[in-house]
Symmetry: C4
Subunit: 198 residues, 4 copies
Amino acid sequence: MANIIPTSRLEAFSDGVIAIIITIMVFDLKMSSPLSAENIWAEVLNLLPKFLSYMLSFIAVAIMWVNHHQLFHLVSRTDGKLLWINMHLLFWMSLIPLATNTLGASPFLPQSNAFYGFVFFMNASGFAWLRQYAAKHLMPHEPLQRKERAKRKGYMGMLIYCLAILLSFVSVYFSFLLFIIVPAMYFMPDSFAHETND
Amino acid sequence: MANIIPTSRLEAFSDGVIAIIITIMVFDLKMSSPLSAENIWAEVLNLLPKFLSYMLSFIAVAIMWVNHHQLFHLVSRTDGKLLWINMHLLFWMSLIPLATNTLGASPFLPQSNAFYGFVFFMNASGFAWLRQYAAKHLMPHEPLQRKERAKRKGYMGMLIYCLAILLSFVSVYFSFLLFIIVPAMYFMPDSFAHETND
Amino acid sequence: MANIIPTSRLEAFSDGVIAIIITIMVFDLKMSSPLSAENIWAEVLNLLPKFLSYMLSFIAVAIMWVNHHQLFHLVSRTDGKLLWINMHLLFWMSLIPLATNTLGASPFLPQSNAFYGFVFFMNASGFAWLRQYAAKHLMPHEPLQRKERAKRKGYMGMLIYCLAILLSFVSVYFSFLLFIIVPAMYFMPDSFAHETND
Amino acid sequence: MANIIPTSRLEAFSDGVIAIIITIMVFDLKMSSPLSAENIWAEVLNLLPKFLSYMLSFIAVAIMWVNHHQLFHLVSRTDGKLLWINMHLLFWMSLIPLATNTLGASPFLPQSNAFYGFVFFMNASGFAWLRQYAAKHLMPHEPLQRKERAKRKGYMGMLIYCLAILLSFVSVYFSFLLFIIVPAMYFMPDSFAHETND
């Protein structure tokens, strides 16, 4: 029954949810007490891990928004199942503020890092599911190479977050590194693209 | 005078409000203190009922959004009264974060469950009112079968939430079960549809 | 320079701000501690004035949104000054959550009522300014009767809120009554309309 | 790959984020305890600097929104890089609530003022970057005079915020003055415009 909803609505609602998620995280960035000449450096140091985890999550959500729109630019129609796969993705995106807050409050605890990695793993796999469902059912004429590359990229992200979960229990510095690698990867010149001549 | 407002505006405003409602609930999902190796399981256990009530409400709001759009896809024009019936629905939707927070904070108290049930009962009846007003005044050519089925579905939801309110005072496990049944019902193959050959 | 911005953008931005204002107020509606069989009635009684002031503000903001859209349905173009008169209105609307919160926290204090009345007085006058600027510069062909009626309605709202400010220092029950009269007036059959045969 | 996203989407997402930023700041405007006849003036005095910094930031964000839309009214297409330069701007805009909150909580501390100035300096330079990238790559036919004037305006804002950072360590009253000058400048008749006969 839901198959009659056009893409524009789905995009607008997703945009609203993503805009709120990306902005609401900043709400946890607050000095815990009014600043004075005495407590200022203690407060700033206290805020620093929260700020860094906010920045990391902002970039990750921004990348997801860009990908979401690139995908829905290609998809011209929707069906009920796509709508719910998208809702599934939005659910995991909505947990990003919680994961960011948890990591920012206790950055050196393995479990915080594992949880942060888990939420982003679910986001990566949620997006991969959305991408593959759309590719199979709604974009029959998409070039195979692009389909394959998108699939590979998705698996890569899932693998890295999976590694981050596991390695956080060895040392949180591994997971820090891996959390930074995903956005970095996104902005680096795409070598896979050249391989596949796309 | 309000009858000159097109549907697009109504949908956009509703979308904004629903996107905020669905996202703002996550704001209560927070560890009550920075995690450490000692307090982590206590904190997680403490968060669990809040998380489960969040998930339940997320799914319920998602279902309402899907229904809202299916309805307004069928309705091409609006009048002042529809606008206010929609506002009435948005009012009860706006109480969902309060009900979710209350249930998450004290899940085993009958009154929390009764209140959660009451808010969703009002949502179900608010949506049924919207559906029936639109069916009568703005969709004169809708097939009678579809009209009847939508009505039956609405009454079913209202009945279940009504039962949840009453049974929460017998045992909160009855209301837990009933709160899960409504979303489950939505995703199950629609046997009524087959009966009516629609 | 701002005169090149089309109305659609102004409306969309206003919609976003109003949707957030109307929803964010619900965030203050929270039990102050987890409910238990012992504290439940104390908590509910404590929440009641907050709930009532929320309901009052929800209705008032809903009315403003309906009026805002009716107005911009009539206005087809915008100029830089209208944009800023609208921003001025949004500024005063953005103070509604503060006024609602203050009234809900101390409903029997004259100053809370006076402040609530003041914020809504500024909203009413902000809207009247927007209405009159638009009527004069952007809707030259509007019937004079409608123009006059809108003016009168605006002055009426401003007068009532003005009275509410003054009378709150005599008894807060006067201001309660006046705060309820404005929405009630809006929903009552419009006798002025009949007088002017419009 | 991101170059296929039309401008409308970029604007809608930016609108959403800006609407949330401008509204969410009001959330910190709260009496710290329920008002009573005794504490009311202390509470109001306590709220005053927060209110003033809110008002200042509201006006600044409103100006940025107006400028953002004027710019994107001129730009008809987007590319991937513009999308990310816009995201960079939104990141610094998202820090405005933190800067506002910090300044409001400790208005007479040089560091609060310096931080407020820094965040707005980054916003001004982020906007200048966006303006110049768009002017160079997406608006080849823009008159040189307008291009030059926009550049000059951008540098002027950056310079003033830079001065505010430095002078805050001499006296916070200098930075207060400079923070007020930028919005005031925006509303004053544009003498540069007359000089360049545009």
